[in-house]
Symmetry: C2
Subunit: 521 residues, 2 copies
């Protein structure tokens, strides 16, 4: 019997016109020089003048076989295997004797030189499939000079290494590119923007791959739960969504499903205010005869709550709960025991509280229950918790992600051929059809700034948060009052791969609504 | 922009040949007399001789307009709206002046006579859509004589009431049918088998509607998680699946996704043994270099554990933990504090422990962690918990469920026309294509037996459990050892509605594998 994954193997990704004949295009430096902060330029003495590149018509520079390495870094995102397929096919087109070598299990595979040459048969088995399993992934970073030296040694015979990762992994890529230049190495380091979180963006990077598939999978489930809530009219569903600090996934899912309340971390409301908001919602809905609803909660919410930030800051500095200042102590006393225990016990090796380990949805439910009692609420409020994350990172990629990731792979091969280093593959005009997409190679260093991590200033690519003044946020927030009381739920249903292209090839709302990138902090 | 739900509105359900021309068929009593237990016959003096009915060729008895009521009872199952659509369309075909009236919010709508006449426009808006929201549902039962009298009054002008529900709701339907007969009422009571759990089955009822859509939705998510586990190689995912006592959903999902371990309640293993099994799995996988895996846990697992059964029995009888017999006390002491507290606090109004409220997956994780420490396990074992339930009850129905539920609705209208009471709509040969399906009206009383509930013997339709000697279970259990160590995961992906019918119209495995129904226990 044929299965859907088998059917998807046969899908041919659509790519930009500019990438359809690699032998007739080349990478050309963008004349506008990169705008790099001085303190960053000091950290990247060789790389900071690297320009971005456009893809222009012209005969290819050389036709020798290429040897290109590739590594996944961080959590899976749908489309990863298509980056490999795009790279593989394009390298073969550039020269049939080219080689694609996967480093296994993330940067640790690079450091320990665990790698495997990828065959056509292996690539054919993962076309348009979810997951990163062909070569695996990992969370190891290149941190020490020793790591850099080992990576250098592992790459000595390579023309390029393609790093498929998020903000931290691409920062690592830039640092490696700088190190290799300093050692006189000719190996190019080329990034590919991967993350479901949607927080790796720039003027050139309109979106990372994986966001669309993850959001559409979560939206399927949220829509199903909305319909269930509407049918049984007895539960408030609290749905926590993966996405680290930024609330892009929550906004996208809110636009796709129109639940009663979506909390957005970037609004920086206090915990007390959010609890008030939810209690208000429940009381207002009760007044119109509704004792059910659906509430979306972004994973990173706690980080933005002023009083929780103050509290976790104190705890991270080693202050014991008994010794907290009165204000933080009041916050601490407000918290359910389980959350207090999580705050005590979820510390990283540097003593910092891991806010991602806090059960935000449970915290909110407990406090809302208390608040409803305090307000003498006479209705019934029953809660169900959900957390959607792992379900959407390794799913079959949507056509959008399949096309986009494959195109990024092809672009990576072109960058490798033209030996462009310190750049990240990017595609502009993503809301147009793929043939109109505009591939560029965007210089990494201008994206980097200094950020305090564990007390040290470190160069990192800044996460892009939801702009609470931008069209994307506003297109959702202007409907909030309406969605709160009326049930304007949408039920998008499962991702479709066949039939009407309006369904199968739709692009994420984030692209339709944020045509111009505006950084927010 | 077109959406998937809009596209699905246009889908035309496929129905059995026997239901395509209602004016040329009629219900004919099956000559074989029903086999009813004497103690049940006593409870149904008027109804116990009711035969089952076949659909045969022949001129229709009458062509007067019909007034038919319909009610959903219990949790949603995908296809519910198609039962309404099938009823509506068939009633219109029988006589254009016929009326379909929905009782709102379950049996409480019937008791309180809250109802609405359904229009074509309303029906057209929910064709092939998930949920029960057009008329809502509820968990109220018809328990007292007063309830029966009120239902009788509400139905006095009706030709029939169609009860769309599971085992308890259809038991209620049978009791109401008996009561109406005893009162000389001519209103027919006609059941429709609804539940995602797959536990409402008989010789005639091969499956309830909703099971297929729920299992395929859960399997999509489980497959995604399997692929994620395989990509990151760092987590054991414990996935609890809705389904009440029976483990049918777990078996179906295991066959669709092939995870490393699926625990089946009906094997009646002890808690201690299950913890051993999981610890063994983790240790054996570590030996082959794997520190990840996926484990399915049915919601009803605890009910089947002998030592938990004994313990909850004692607690339900009001024995305090301190006063338990040594054996039960040993079980109690084994449990994590949270589970002890759930056992203390999750009691129904009769004092019975609500085992469905126990966090089985957390219980297992805690005990497995302890066991691994006791065995001096040197690897890493990180756990993630999931619970899939509400996501799959109100999703867009698969073609199978859309066809099946619609056909059940058409059959219900035919039963109403021919005033057949005390039966449940059923379709045989479901694994064939819909045109070959064989509709029957199956007598309810023979399905009923006496069961102790809260100390009283009550007539109920027996839940059908997984037959651990049947082909369905064996087709999964024979692969268990292989799936435990090798990663033979399958990634079925999201439900598809367009394209190859091998994908869109597939029937659930439970039908392929259990051609003949064998009751277990």
């Amino acid at each position: 019997m044929t299965t859907l994954p088998e059917k998807r193997l046969a899908y041919v990704p659509k790519i930009p016109q500019a990438l359809q004949h690699l032998l007739h295009v080349r990478c050309e430096a963008d004349p506008s020089s990169p705008n790099v902060r001085p303190e960053i330029a000091d950290l990247f003495p060789h790389l900071h003048t690297t320009p971005s590149y456009r893809i222009v018509s012209g005969a290819a520079a050389k036709k020798a076989p290429l040897k290109v390495g590739v590594v996944f870094s961080g959590g899976p995102a749908s489309g990863g295997h298509n980056v490999l397929a795009g790279l593989f096919d394009a390298l073969g087109q550039i020269h049939p004797a080219s080689q694609l070598v996967g480093f296994v299990g993330g940067f640790s595979g690079l450091i320990n030189n665990r790698c495997k040459a990828l065959s056509l048969e292996q690539i054919d088995a993962v076309r348009n499939q979810g997951g990163f399993d062909l070569i695996g992934t990992g969370r190891t970073k290149l941190e020490s000079m020793e790591d850099m030296q080992k990576a250098h040694a592992a790459l000595h015979s390579f023309d390029a290494l393609v790093v498929i990762g998020g903000d931290d992994s691409n920062t690592n890529g830039a640092l490696l590119a700088e190190y290799l230049l300093s050692q006189g190495s000719k190996t190019a380091i080329i990034g590919v923007p991967k993350t479901i979180d949607g927080d790796l963006r720039s003027r050139d990077i309109e979106l990372s791959f994986g966001f669309d598939s993850a959001c559409k999978t979560y939206a399927e489930l949220i829509g199903n739960i909305c319909r269930d809530a509407l049918s049984t009219r007895k539960y408030y569903h609290f749905i926590k969504l993966m996405g680290r600090s930024a609330s892009h996934i929550a906004v996208e899912c809110a636009l796709l499903t129109q639940p009663n309340l979506t909390i957005i971390g970037e609004e920086r409301k206090s915990l007390a205010q959010i609890v008030q908001d939810i209690a208000d919602l429940i009381i207002r809905r009760k007044a119109v005869g509704k004792e059910f609803g659906v509430i979306l909660v972004p994973e990173g919410l706690i980080e933005f709550m002023p009083e929780m930030g103050a509290l976790t800051g104190e705890l991270s500095r080693g202050v014991l709960p008994e010794k907290l200042c009165p204000k933080d102590r009041a916050t601490w006393d407000l918290l359910p025991e389980k959350i207090q225990s999580q705050l005590r016990n979820s510390k990283d090796p540097h003593g910092n509280v891991r806010v991602s380990q806090i059960s935000t949805e449970e915290l909110l439910i407990q406090l809302v229950k208390k608040e409803l009692v305090a307000r003498n609420f006479q209705g019934s409020a029953n809660f169900q918790e959900h957390f959607f994350g792992y379900e959407g990172r390794s799913c079959l990629p949507t056509n959008f992600d399949a096309n986009y990731a494959y195109s990024l792979g092809v672009l990576g091969a072109l960058a490798a051929r033209d030996r462009v280093t310190g750049v990240i593959c990017a595609i502009r005009s993503l809301k147009e059809t793929p043939d109109q997409w505009i591939p560029v190679l965007s210089s990494l260093v201008p994206m980097i700034h200094l950020e305090e991590r564990n007390g040290l200033k470190k160069p990192v690519i800044a996460k892009v948060l939801v702009d609470v003044k931008g069209a994307y946020f506003l297109s959702f927030s202007t409907h909030r009052n309406q969605w709160a009381l009326e049930d304007n739920y949408r039920f998008p249903g499962p991702i479709q791969f066949f039939g009407d292209t309006a369904l199968t090839d739709s692009c994420p709302r984030i692209l339709e609504l944020t045509s111009v990138y505006t950084p927010s902090t």
